[in-house]
C-alpha cells in the first residue's frame, strides 16, 4: 500500500506536514487499533492507545531511521503504549490455562482422524457469532504477548521478522509463541466441535 504513496511522503512526515500525518492515520489506523484491541480487549482503551500512538509518531518521527517499514515502526510504538496501558491496569494478560504437553497433543492427533474436519463447513454446527465469540474468548485466556504474536502474524499477515521487530523479541521466539497459540486454538476448537482426548 505504501508503494502507492508519493516518494516524498517520508520527507513530508519528517517535516511534520499535517496532511502527510492524516494519510498515515488513514493508512495504518486499522492495524494499530487492532493490535491494541487484541491485547487490551477493551474498545475505548484501544482507541485511546491508537490516538496516543499517532501523536507519539508525530513527535518522534525524527527518530524514524527507515531501517524498518513505517508500519512496523508505528506498530512498535503502539505495542509499547499498549504494554504501558496493561501495566497501569495491573493486567498483563491471563496465563494460558494448562500448557499443552506432548501426550495431550498426541491424544488430539489420535482423536481427530475419525471426526469431520471442522474447517470444511463450521457454520453447519454453529453460527458466525458463536464461532467468533468462542474463538475470541479462547484467545482472551492467553497472555497479551501471545495474542499480539497471533494478531500480527496470522491476522495481519506480517512476517515473523516484522513481528519480532515490533515486539522486541527474537524471530525464533515469535515462531515458538505462534505455534503454541495455534495448537491451543486447535484444542479449543476440538473442545467446541467435540471429540475425545480433550481434558482440561
Amino acid at each position: 500500500m505504501s508503494s502507492q504513496l508519493p516518494d516524498d511522503w517520508i520527507e513530508r512526515l519528517r517535516a511534520r506536514e499535517h496532511e502527510a500525518f492524516n494519510e498515515l492515520v488513514r493508512l495504518h489506523h486499522g492495524a494499530v487499533y487492532r493490535l491494541a484491541l487484541r491485547m487490551l480487549r477493551h474498545r475505548d482503551d484501544a482507541q485511546e492507545v491508537a490516538q496516543e500512538s499517532f501523536l507519539a509518531a508525530y513527535e518522534g518521527i525524527g527518530g524514524f531511521a527507515g531501517r524498518a517499514s513505517l508500519k512496523t515502526w508505528l506498530l512498535s510504538i503502539a505495542y509499547r503504549k499498549t504494554v504501558d496501558r496493561l501495566k497501569r491496569r495491573g493486567d498483563e494478560g491471563a496465563i494460558i490455562s494448562g500448557v499443552l504437553d506432548d501426550s495431550e497433543l498426541w491424544r488430539i492427533a489420535q482423536s481427530v482422524q475419525n471426526l469431520t474436519d471442522w474447517g470444511v463447513n463450521p457454520e453447519q454446527h454453529y453460527s458466525r457469532t458463536q464461532l467468533s465469540e468462542h474463538l475470541g474468548t479462547s484467545l482472551g485466556r492467553l497472555p497479551a504477548d501471545s495474542r499480539a504474536v497471533f494478531e500480527l502474524r496470522d491476522l495481519q499477515g506480517l512476517t515473523s521478522q516484522e513481528a519480532a521487530d515490533i515486539l522486541g523479541i527474537s524471530e525464533g521466539a515469535v515462531r515458538v509463541r505462534l505455534h503454541r497459540v495455534r495448537q491451543y486454538l486447535m484444542r479449543e476448537l476440538q473442545s467446541l466441535f467435540g471429540g475425545p482426548g480433550v481434558h482440561r
Binding site: 511534520r16 506536514e17 499535517h18 496532511e19 500525518f21 492524516n22 492515520v25 488513514r26 489506523h29 486499522g30 487499533y33 487492532r34 484491541l37 482507541q47 491508537a50 490516538q51 499517532f54 501523536l55 508525530y58 506432548d102 497433543l105 498426541w106 488430539i108 492427533a109 489420535q110 481427530v112 482422524q113 474436519d117 471442522w118 474447517g119 470444511v120 463450521p122 458466525r128 464461532l131 467468533s132 474463538l135 475470541g136 484467545l139 497471533f150 496470522d154 491476522l155 515462531r175 505462534l178 505455534h179 495455534r182 495448537q183 486454538l185 486447535m186 476448537l189 476440538q190
Partner: protein, 91 residues
C-alpha cells in the same frame, strides 16, 4: 526401513510450523511428507492445525469501525501545533 526414514510423530509436531512455512531443509521435508503418507493420525493433526488457523482468520478478523479514523484525526487536529500555510489534520 521406510518407518525409520519417515521420522517420528514427535518430529512432525515439532516441525509443523517450519514445514508449513517451507523452512525445513529438503531432507527433513521429504521425511515429513513420508511420515504424513504413512501416519493417518499425524495427517489428520496437520489438517486440523491448518483448519484452526483458517477458522481463526475467518472469525476473528473484524475490521474496526471507520468512524474511529475520523476520531483519531480530530484528536490530532486538537493537539498538533498549527503550521503556516498548512492545514491542520481534519477528517
Amino acid at each position: 526401513m521406510m518407518k525409520l526414514l519417515a521420522g517420528t510423530h514427535a518430529e512432525v509436531r515439532e516441525f509443523l510450523l517450519d514445514y508449513l512455512e517451507r523452512e525445513l531443509p529438503l531432507l527433513k521435508r521429504w521425511q515429513f511428507r513420508l511420515h504424513l503418507l504413512m501416519c493417518p493420525n499425524c495427517s489428520a493433526y496437520l489438517s486440523r492445525y491448518r483448519s484452526s488457523v483458517s477458522l481463526a482468520r475467518n472469525y476473528l478478523d473484524d475490521p474496526p469501525p471507520p468512524e474511529l479514523v475520523d476520531l483519531t484525526l480530530q484528536f490530532l487536529a486538537q493537539r498538533l501545533p498549527e503550521q503556516d500555510g498548512n492545514a491542520s489534520p481534519t477528517p
